[in-house]
């Protein structure tokens, strides 16, 4: 690895100067001439029938240029609520006016008559027959009813009559599970391998608990914003703060029935995304509609309050989980039943419930997961969607098992880990992944094996797995007459991905890093690129960039062979020039000279093209250890040490990778200790940073990052996606450390002081 000169190095980010000087253009910096200010009119109730919407007073207000409701959506696709609102803050109309205050005032003047309906915000209430129905009366069976009904169906299809008694008995049994008729279900998923009942029966220790994880917001620094401009020809330009300009283009086209290439999406510098910045309808579609109606450019920008009311946060969930193990430490069975809070629409990451399996050999497993409608906004991705929730339950329970059988939590995990070649439940076999290396690395770095703790101090460990996504992308690279190289592509920079792409191309072309520049095009100009989410960018665009640079190198060697009158086999590209390997005295030609020469050749300028769509990814592991101190009287927890290791495959830029590990770990810490969207009788009650707490640098020590590199076969230079894994274990790491410190198992996050004091009282503290 040390053979590389640019990749694998801690180089400064290509966008460092524009970020530090404030030159970077964010969505709110876009201000086309004549721009109007949009404001979305939102429901004041969490659940209500809409009786009427009266815009007449607002229309009279001077400065108001357009007001839209669902009637202005020609495609009929739902952009605004019409008959019924399902959450506080749901959009009902939008206004565009000559300044932001007029827009605000106009929004207040729109009169909406509601008939308030009963509200349900808790998933366990929503599945009951007593809950108000959000979308209809369809019901789904719980796990036991599913099993019984499956048996009945199997027997009924049998032609033999003597099954009727059995069927009658099964039907009676069905009655016992009448509380397993679930209402308001938005989606369901079921996985099963082996026989969990048998596994539990053979276990010496079985632990069962219910874990409750709150809904949290991605809290990116920049709220959603878009500026749309529809010209007289029908051409639409959207400056969008988004992780995926091409997805926004197709989303707007699909929602509004506009031809795809009549829309140009310009991605503005992103003030954080974390998975929450892919929404099409949130601001982009209203901005387009307002611009079409007013004939002027319109900016729609959310406030922080609107972000909480109508963003697409991470779903909360309730996970009932049961694990069985032998007393010598083999996990035999695990079963989970999860209810994910998908809000007003379907779409919570219920499939991630399977993450309770972790990277362990568990022969018997059964997962039943349901998405449940509630009177809340819909949800979206947040950094390894669904994994932190499921892994919190799985890894917390694992510690309780380890404690009951008297095994060290790290050793217990190490002995149960899958190994290379083991069968993978989804099919195929386990690739080489640094599972053990990563956990051992964090244990060594944290001093786990000779750890000490004073009174009320404790240590916690947990691991989390995730696999990066992959998607299509295109990259061009040109070499100029001054020997510099310029990259052109269409993917949004997310936490240093432009830097990684630049490093890869500089490495291959042997152009000094500072002489390689990168430009992002809009959807009109750039080749298609997958969205910047799911840890895909360095994997996908890194591979694409590699292909582009190799293509350019082919042309460079071709030109050099022509110019130096030699065979390509004798040539080597090194230090920004092509050298004849065998020449004595040495003979070479610089990239600049070749680029100049290329302009008068038949073959033309040096342009490399890379186009890539898919290669299998390799799982990654994050392992973390925390040392905490709990004040048993006030319930406050202080982190004394937080160490995070991760198998990153290969760190293209170790500094950026450390940043990702630190950032993900801190977000996991926040979810464990303080973040929580709270709901009162009528929707979200903490829509702002006063009572939705994100941590500051004063809350925890510097996260110590440990990079483990077990190369991924298909990653560029062996790299894996690094953004998502580090958030996955932290929730359980913190809970396990608190358990070790003061003996209480917190099953409901966040671990707020009041909860700790209560739990300690129940444990006899202070009595």
């Amino acid at each position: 690895m040390s053979d590389y000169s640019v990749v694998g190095k801690k180089l400064p980010r290509v966008d460092a100067v524009e970020k530090v000087t404030g030159a970077a253009q964010y969505g709110a910096d876009v201000h086309p001439a004549g721009m109007l200010y949009g404001k979305i009119v939102r429901s004041k109730h969490a659940h209500a029938k809409i009786l009427s919407i009266d815009t007449s007073e607002a229309e009279k207000l001077p400065g108001v240029r357009a007001i839209i409701t669902q009637d202005d959506v020609p495609s009929g696709r739902r952009v605004f609520a019409t008959d019924k609102v399902l959450y506080l803050g749901e959009p009902l109309a939008a206004v565009a006016a000559t300044d932001a205050d007029v827009a605000e005032e106009a929004a207040e003047l729109i009169k909406i008559e509601y008939e308030v309906l009963p509200v349900v915000q808790d998933v366990m209430e929503s599945i009951k027959s007593s809950a108000p129905r959000l979308h209809g009366d369809e019901t789904k069976d719980g796990p036991n009813r599913r099993d019984i009904n499956a048996k009945i169906k199997e027997l009924s299809s049998d032609q033999e009559d003597d099954n009727s008694d059995t069927i009658r008995k099964l039907k009676a049994e069905l009655e016992q599970y009448s509380d397993e008729v679930y209402y308001n279900i938005s989606a369901e998923t079921h996985n099963e391998a082996g026989d969990v009942e048998k596994g539990f029966a053979e276990s010496d220790v079985v632990v069962e608990d219910t874990y409750v994880i709150p809904r949290v917001h991605q809290t990116y620094m920049e709220p959603h914003v878009s500026v749309a401009s529809a010209d007289s020809s029908g051409k639409i330009t959207v400056w969008a703060s988004t992780q995926g300009p091409f997805a926004i283009r197709s989303g707007i086209a699909g929602t509004l029935g506009i031809p795809l290439t009549q829309i140009n999406v310009i991605g503005t510098t992103m003030g954080g995304g974390f998975g929450g910045r892919f929404g099409v309808i949130i601001t982009h579609v209203p901005a387009v509609l307002l611009s079409q109606k007013s004939g002027r450019p319109v900016r729609v920008q959310m406030t922080r309050e609107e972000e909480f009311l109508d963003g697409r946060p991470a779903p909360g969930c309730v996970i009932k989980i049961k694990t069985g193990a032998t007393k010598d430490g083999h996990i035999l069975a695990r079963q989970a039943l999860a209810f994910w809070d998908s809000g007003s629409v379907s779409g919570a990451s219920i499939g991630s419930t399977i993450r309770v399996r972790g990277v362990y050999k568990i022969p018997n497993i059964k997962i039943d997961a349901y998405g449940v409608h509630t009177n809340k906004s819909g949800t979206a991705a947040y950094r390894a969607p669904g994994a932190p929730q499921a892994i919190f339950a799985g890894e917390s329970q694992l510690d309780d098992i380890a404690e009951q059988i008297g095994m060290d939590p790290v050793k217990f995990r190490l002995m149960n880990m899958r190994e290379e070649g083991d069968a993978v439940p989804a099919g195929g076999s386990e690739p080489k992944v640094g599972y053990k290396e990563t956990l051992e690395a964090v244990a060594d770095a944290a001093g786990w094996w000779d750890r000490e703790a004073d009174d009320n101090q404790g240590w916690g460990v947990a691991i989390g797995d995730w696999t990066n996504g992959c998607g299509p992308g295109g990259v061009y690279v040109s070499v100029h007459e001054d020997g510099s190289a310029r990259i052109f592509h269409g993917s949004m920079d997310i936490t240093g991905t432009d830097t990684a792409i630049t490093q890869i191309i500089a490495e291959i072309l042997t152009v000094p890093y500072e002489n390689v520049t990168i430009r992002r095009g809009d959807t009109d100009s750039a080749p298609y690129s997958t969205g910047s989410g799911g840890s895909v960018v360095t994997f996908t665009m890194g591979n694409t960039a590699k292909l582009a640079a190799e293509d350019a190198r082919r042309r460079i060697l071709e030109l050099a062979a022509e110019r130096l009158n030699t065979n390509e086999d004798n040539l080597e590209l090194k230090d920004g020039a092509v050298h004849i390997v065998t020449a004595d005295p040495p003979k070479s030609i610089s990239l600049g000279e070749l680029a100049a020469y290329s302009l008068s050749t038949t073959g033309g300028p040096i342009v490399g093209k890379g186009s890539f769509a898919r290669q299998p990814s390799t799982p990654a592991l994050a392992a973390q250890i925390a040392k905490v101190e709990v004040d048993p009287d006030t319930g406050r927890t202080r982190v004394l040490k937080l160490v995070a290791s991760q198998d990153v495959g290969f760190a293209i830029n170790p500094m950026a990778v450390e940043g990702q590990i630190e950032g993900g770990t801190v977000q996991g810490y926040a979810w464990a200790m303080m973040e929580e969207m709270q709901y009162g009788d009528n929707g979200n009650i903490n829509p702002g940073f006063v009572d939705y707490r994100v941590p500051t640098s004063a809350d925890l020590p510097t996260v110590e990052s440990v990079i483990v590199e077990v190369p991924a076969p298909n990653g560029p230079y062996g790299a894996k996606g690094v953004g998502e894994p580090p958030i996955t274990p932290t929730l359980a790491t913190m809970a396990n450390a608190v358990k070790d410190a003061v003996g209480i198992r917190v099953t409901e996050l966040p671990i707020k002081p009041e909860k700790v004091v209560e739990a300690l009282k129940n444990n006899g503290h202070g009595a």
Binding site: D101, E104, E305, D633, T634, R636, M673, M674, Q678, G680, I685, N686, V690, D691, R693, P695, T696, A698, D699, K752, P753, E754, V757
Partner: protein
């Protein structure tokens, strides 16, 4: 933000007569008012800045160790004042708990108090300093003890046109301490705030003052607990009794931050703890 008329008077008299109008608000540091105006929770028709009136800021210490703090004194100055740190440690600690350094460089102690939030971070420290609040208006001047200033959340005895000019801290404490119960280490609002101050004589508590924030509609003194302590030799049992008495004096609410029960329990815990720390500092 709604449009408003803006004045920058240079005398208190002028400010007072402007302030006597309906729907007028005073602008000191602006860290509460401007945020409220942006959120449309404050919609004054008139905003009167106090920033151009000379003599409203600064900290002065007299020979008898009594301290005057001008109402327009920045919270950061209160936090960093050596005299306040020495004689009214709890107040300096309270000031250090407000927002961020940037906020503390703008916010004023007068604003923090006049806003009358039961959770204000300087209020418990001023309560245990037994501060006098000097008030001016076009009709003249008057002074009220800090524990008589508040009448409810956001409510004070201030009449239209009356402006707080300074706080006089006449009773230095030989030891005091403030603890804010919170989740986040910095930049959080007080779930509760507790300050204790003691003066000792020959190993006996000569006087003790306990100030409590965010546990009642107004900030309060825990006078029964104070009386329990006075004239006694401090022991863990005595402090425990004081903690219980302080908790009994509260009438907290349950809200999204925590329950009333938790607030009461924490008053007990933190009264004991602040008293012990105050005693240790003597």
């Amino acid at each position: 933000m709604k449009s408003f008329e803006f004045f920058e008077p240079t005398t208190l008299a002028e400010a007072s007569s402007l302030f006597a109008q309906k729907h007028a608000q005073l602008l000191a540091g602006g860290t509460d008012l401007v945020i409220g105006m942006k959120a449309y929770t404050e919609t004054p028709e008139t905003v009167i800045s106090l920033q151009k009136i000379p003599g409203l800021d600064g900290i002065t210490t007299d020979n008898d160790k009594s301290i005057s703090i001008g109402a327009m004194t920045k919270v950061r100055q209160v936090e960093l004042s050596e005299d306040i740190q020495q004689y009214h440690t709890a107040l300096a600690e309270g000031a250090s708990e407000i927002g961020s350094i940037q906020i503390r460089n703008l916010a004023t102690i007068g604003g923090n108090i006049a806003h009358a939030s039961p959770a204000a971070d300087t209020v418990a420290g001023l309560l245990v300093a037994d501060a006098q609040v000097d008030i001016a208006s076009a009709d003249g001047e008057r002074s009220v003890p800090i524990n008589e200033l508040f009448t409810g959340p956001g409510q004070t005895v201030l009449k239209p046109g009356e402006i707080i000019t300074q706080f006089r801290l006449l009773h230095p404490a030989s030891g005091s301490h403030y603890i804010k119960h919170k989740i986040r280490e910095v930049m959080d609002l007080a779930f509760i705030g507790v300050a204790s101050a003691v003066n000792m004589q020959n190993g006996v508590i000569k006087e003790a003052r306990i100030g409590l924030a965010a546990v009642a509609p107004t900030p309060i003194r825990a006078t029964e607990a104070e009386n329990l302590l006075s004239g006694k030799t401090p022991t863990p049992e005595l402090l425990a009794q004081a903690g219980e008495a302080a908790a009994a004096a509260t009438s907290p609410i349950s809200d999204l931050r925590c329950s009333a029960e938790h607030r009461k329990e924490m008053v007990d815990v933190l009264t004991r703890r602040t008293l012990q720390n105050a005693l240790d500092r003597v």
